[in-house]
C-alpha cells in the first residue's frame, strides 16, 4: 500500500504527516542532493521548486510512487544562494534547477548546463520570483543566452517565430538542418513570461483562483482545479460529493474539447481539411455545452474554493445528455475514417519517435508520456473529485511516435465520453450525502488534476491569515517540453515539424507562465 513510506523508512527518514495523503520530511543542505537521488531510484520526481522570501530560501522535491496514492515532499532550507545540483544524479531535475536559477536566483552548483530556460534577454541578477518591484526596468538587458547550434559542412539554421504564421501562441524554434533533415531543434521559450505565480503572493485564495484559471486558457479548469484542491487541502476544507462529481464532469469536458481540438489540428497539419473542419465543429459543440453549464466556454469562474461557484444548471445537464449519443457516434465514425486514410497515417508513423527509456527517465506526463509507455494518470493513481467511483481505462502505447500520441488521444476521447455517461446516469440531480468533518489545517499542501496535457501539479503555502505565501504551478507542458528537441531529432524532415508540433500539442502559456 505505502511504497513511499517503505522507501522513506529504507533511507532512515521519518516523515511527518502533511495534508491528507502527504508526507513531509526535511533534511540538511548537504544531504539534499543524495537523498533526492536515492528517492528517485524507487519513486518518481514529480516536481522540484524553490520558495524564496525575506531571509528564506527553501527547496522542495515532490515524489510519487507507482501503486501509492500518496505523495512525499522533501524540504531543505538553504543557508546561501547556492546549492548542490541534483541533476548529475537525476537527469529529470535539469529543467527544474534551471528554472530555480533563473526565477529565484539560487545557483545549482555542478549543474552540467545551467543556462536560462526562458529569460531570453533579461537583466542579470533580477530573478522575477524574488526581485523587488521595478527591478527589471533598472537593469540593463544582458546578452541573449547562447543557444546550442550545430556546426558542420552544409548545416544551416532556420529560425521560426516568435510570431508564428497563423493565430497561434508565440514561441520560437531554431531548426538546424542540412537541407531537408532536421539535425536538431531548439525550442526558445519564455517570450510570454507573465510571472503569474508571483502575482498571487499576498492575495487571498479566491483572488489566486482567478490567476490559476488564467495561467493557460485551454487548461483553465485543470489548473484551477489543481490550485483549488491545494488550497482546500491546506485549509482542511472538504468538498461535498455532488460538487466533486460536478468537478469530474467539467474536468472531462475540458479534456474532451482539448483532445478534439488537438486531433483536428493534427489533421490540419497533414492537409486533411475535412477532418480538421469536422473536429473543430465538434469542439465548438463541446465549448458551447460548457458555456451552457458554467456561463463560460472555457469553464472559467465555475470553481470556487470549497466546491463550485454555482450548481450546474439542469438545462445544461439535459443538453449534455441529449448531445452525448451523437458525440459517441461521430467520434467513432471519424476514428474509423482517420485510421483508413493512408495519406494521413503515413505522415504519423515513426514521426518524432520517443524511446520508452528516454520518456521514463524524464517522467513524462499525459498523452505524450502514455504513448511512450509511461503509465501515469492522476485520475487513477491519486483519485480526486469523483474519480474513485468512476470506471475508465487509461490507454498506454509503446511506440512513442505521432501515431501513438494520436491513438492515445482518440481512446481518451472515448473514455471521457464514457465517464460523462456515467456521471449523468448516476443521477446528477439527486442530492448525495454531505462532505464530512473538516480536516486539520496544515497551511501548505499539494493539489493535482489530470488535464488534457497530463498531470497538473500545484503547491500552495498560506500564512496564518490564509494569504498566499507561495503558489507553485507545475503544469504538464513544463515536463513535456523537455523532450521536444530529442523527439524532433529522431530522423525527421523539416516538413514533419507541423505534424510534430501538433502531435505534441504543448502549451506555451503553461511553460512560460
Amino acid at each position: 500500500m505505502s511504497a513511499l513510506r517503505d522507501l522513506a523508512a529504507g533511507l532512515d527518514m521519518e516523515p511527518e504527516p502533511g495534508a491528507a495523503g502527504e508526507m513531509h520530511a526535511t533534511c540538511s543542505e548537504e544531504r539534499f542532493a543524495p537523498r533526492v537521488a536515492a528517492l528517485a531510484e524507487g519513486a518518481i520526481l514529480a516536481d522540484l521548486f524553490a520558495t524564496t522570501g525575506e531571509r528564506r530560501r527553501r527547496l522542495s522535491a515532490v515524489f510519487e510512487a507507482a501503486g501509492d496514492p500518496g505523495w512525499l515532499v522533501l524540504h531543505c532550507d538553504l543557508s546561501s544562494d547556492s546549492f548542490t545540483s541534483v541533476t548529475p544524479l537525476v537527469h529529470s531535475a535539469a529543467w527544474y534547477e534551471r528554472e530555480i536559477r533563473e526565477m529565484h536566483g539560487l545557483e545549482p552548483l555542478g549543474h552540467p548546463m545551467p543556462a536560462r530556460l526562458r529569460l531570453l534577454d533579461w537583466p542579470e541578477g533580477v530573478p522575477p520570483m524574488r526581485a523587488g518591484p521595478g527591478a527589471a526596468a533598472r537593469g540593463e538587458p544582458s546578452e541573449p543566452e547562447r543557444v546550442p547550434v550545430v556546426r558542420g559542412r552544409g548545416v544551416f539554421q532556420i529560425p521560426l517565430g516568435p510570431v508564428r504564421s497563423g493565430p497561434q501562441e508565440s514561441g520560437e524554434f531554431l531548426f538546424n538542418s542540412g537541407g531537408e533533415d532536421l539535425v536538431a531543434v531548439s525550442p526558445l521559450l519564455g517570450y510570454k513570461l507573465r510571472a503569474v505565480e508571483r502575482l498571487a503572493e499576498g492575495r487571498s485564495p479566491e483572488e489566486g483562483l482567478v490567476l490559476a484559471e488564467r495561467l493557460a486558457g485551454v487548461s483553465a479548469f485543470a489548473n484551477g482545479l489543481a490550485y483549488a484542491q491545494a488550497v482546500e487541502r491546506s485549509l482542511g476544507i472538504r468538498v461535498g460529493p455532488r460538487q466533486r462529481a460536478a468537478r469530474s464532469l467539467l474536468n472531462e469536458l475540458e479534456r474532451l474539447h482539448n483532445h478534439l481540438g488537438d486531433i483536428g489540428r493534427l489533421a490540419e497539419a497533414t492537409g486533411l481539411m475535412v477532418a480538421a473542419a469536422q473536429y473543430a465543429a465538434l469542439k465548438e459543440e463541446v465549448l458551447r455545452a460548457g458555456a451552457d453549464l458554467t456561463a463560460h466556454r472555457y469553464l472559467r469562474g465555475a470553481l470556487s474554493i470549497g466546491g463550485l461557484s454555482a450548481p450546474l444548471p439542469s438545462s445544461g445537464l439535459h443538453g449534455l445528455r441529449r448531445a452525448l449519443p451523437g458525440w459517441h457516434r461521430r467520434t467513432e465514425r471519424m476514428r474509423v475514417l482517420l485510421e483508413a486514410t493512408g495519406t494521413f497515417t503515413d505522415r504519423l508513423e515513426t514521426t518524432a519517435r520517443l524511446r520508452a527509456r528516454y520518456a521514463a527517465a524524464h517522467n513524462l506526463v499525459g498523452p505524450v508520456g502514455r504513448s511512450a509507455a509511461v503509465d501515469r494518470d492522476c485520475r487513477r493513481d491519486h483519485p480526486y473529485a469523483a474519480y474513485e467511483e468512476l470506471r475508465f481505462e487509461v490507454p498506454v502505447r509503446p511506440e512513442g511516435d505521432a501515431q501513438a500520441r494520436l491513438a492515445v488521444r482518440i481512446e481518451e476521447v472515448r473514455q471521457s465520453l464514457g465517464i460523462l455517461d456515467q456521471l449523468l446516469e448516476n443521477g446528477f440531480d439527486r442530492e448525495r450525502s454531505g462532505g464530512g468533518e473538516p480536516e486539520t489545517a496544515r497551511h501548505e499542501a499539494l493539489g493535482w488534476c489530470e488535464g488534457a496535457g497530463g498531470q497538473t501539479l500545484h503547491w500552495v503555502e498560506l500564512d496564518a491569515d490564509a494569504r498566499i505565501v507561495r503558489w507553485r504551478a507545475r503544469p504538464p507542458a513544463f515536463v513535456n517540453w523537455h523532450v521536444y528537441s530529442e523527439a524532433c531529432a529522431s530522423g525527421n524532415n523539416l516538413t514533419d515539424h507541423p505534424v510534430i508540433e501538433a502531435s505534441f500539442a504543448l502549451s506555451h502559456a503553461e511553460f512560460d507562465r
Binding site: K192, A281, A340
Partner: protein, 275 residues
C-alpha cells in the same frame, strides 16, 4: 478521401447565421450593469468582489461614485452571482468599441439616494477614410503578445465551419507585409514587446490595430507584473477594443467588421430600465 467528402456533405451546413441573424447559441459576451438597481452598500460590495478592479468605488456609502470598466472585466461572474438584479450577462456579441472610454460607466450617489448613472454619450461616428478601403476584404496579422492561449483558441475557431471568417472577406495572413490589420491578444510582456513592434512596423499604411481581450485592453489580472510591459495601447495606437476573457468568436467577428466600418458600435456597459 471520398469518404471524408461524403462525411462533410452529410453533416451539411454548420455555419452560424451571424452577423445577418443572431446566433441562438451565443455565449455570455459581457456583463451589463443596471446601476439604479444597486444601493450604495451593494456597490461597495461589488467592488470588493471584483478581482481585477473592473468595478471600483470612490467615496463611501454616503457620497460616492461607482466606476465600471468593462475593459478590465475577466468574466469571472462573481458580481453576477452575488447581485443578479444589477449585474447580468449579455449574450449580444456586439461588445467591441472604438475608444477605450466607451467601455466605462460611472454612476454617482449622494446621501440617501442610490447610484444614478451619468449620461452616456452617443457613440461618436468617427468614420475614418482608411476604413472604407478594407470594406470588402481585410487581411489580419495576429500577434500573441503574452496571452494564456484562450484568445488563440477562439481565433482558431474562427476558421472552423461554424464561424468561417472567409465568407465575410476576412483572412489571416502569415506575413505582416500583406496585412491590413494587426490583431493582438494578451498583455504585452517585456519579452514580446520588440517582436510586436517589429510586426507593426513591417505592416504597410494604412493599418488597423485591434486589442482583443481583457489582457490586451487593460492587462487583465497580470497588470503590474514584474515581467509585463502593460496593456497594448501603452505600446501601439489601438483602433478597436474587444472586451472578453476570451472574447467569443462572434465578438471577434463583430470587432473585425466594426474595424472596417461594416458593423455598428452597440456596446454600452450600462443598461437602463426598459432598454
Amino acid at each position: 478521401m471520398s469518404r471524408w467528402i461524403a462525411l462533410g456533405l452529410r453533416r451539411g451546413m454548420l455555419t452560424t447565421g451571424y452577423p445577418r441573424h443572431p446566433d441562438p447559441g451565443a455565449p455570455p459576451a459581457a456583463v451589463r450593469v443596471r446601476a439604479e438597481a444597486l444601493t450604495a452598500e451593494q456597490a461597495v460590495r461589488a467592488a470588493d468582489l471584483c478581482p481585477t478592479g473592473a468595478i471600483q468605488v470612490e467615496g463611501d456609502a454616503g457620497t460616492g461614485a461607482l466606476r465600471v470598466d468593462m475593459g478590465r472585466c475577466v468574466m469571472c461572474g462573481r458580481c453576477v452571482r452575488a447581485l443578479p438584479d444589477a449585474f447580468t450577462y449579455s449574450t449580444a456579441p456586439e461588445v467591441a468599441v472604438r475608444s477605450r472610454e466607451r467601455l466605462t460607466l460611472r454612476a454617482v450617489w449622494s446621501r440617501g439616494e442610490g447610484p444614478q448613472p451619468e449620461a452616456i454619450e452617443a457613440a461618436e461616428e468617427l468614420q475614418r477614410r482608411s476604413l472604407s478601403l478594407f470594406r470588402r476584404s481585410l487581411h489580419i496579422r495576429h500577434v500573441d503578445a503574452g496571452s494564456c492561449n484562450g484568445c488563440e483558441s477562439e481565433l482558431q475557431m474562427l476558421g472552423s465551419p461554424v464561424y468561417d471568417l472567409h465568407r465575410l472577406g476576412l483572412f489571416f495572413t502569415p506575413t505582416p507585409r500583406h496585412a491590413d490589420c494587426l490583431l493582438v491578444t494578451g498583455v504585452v510582456t517585456r519579452q514580446m514587446e520588440q517582436p510586436l513592434r517589429d510586426t507593426y512596423d513591417a505592416m504597410p499604411e494604412p493599418k488597423l490595430v485591434v486589442a482583443a481581450g481583457a489582457c490586451a485592453i487593460a492587462g487583465g489580472p497580470f497588470e503590474g507584473g514584474l515581467t509585463v510591459r502593460g496593456p497594448l495601447d501603452h505600446v501601439l495606437p489601438v483602433d478597436v477594443y474587444v472586451p472578453g476573457c476570451p472574447p467569443s468568436p462572434l465578438a471577434l467577428l463583430h470587432a473585425l467588421l466594426l474595424a472596417v466600418g461594416r458593423a455598428q458600435e452597440r456596446c454600452s456597459p450600462g443598461v437602463r430600465d426598459g432598454s
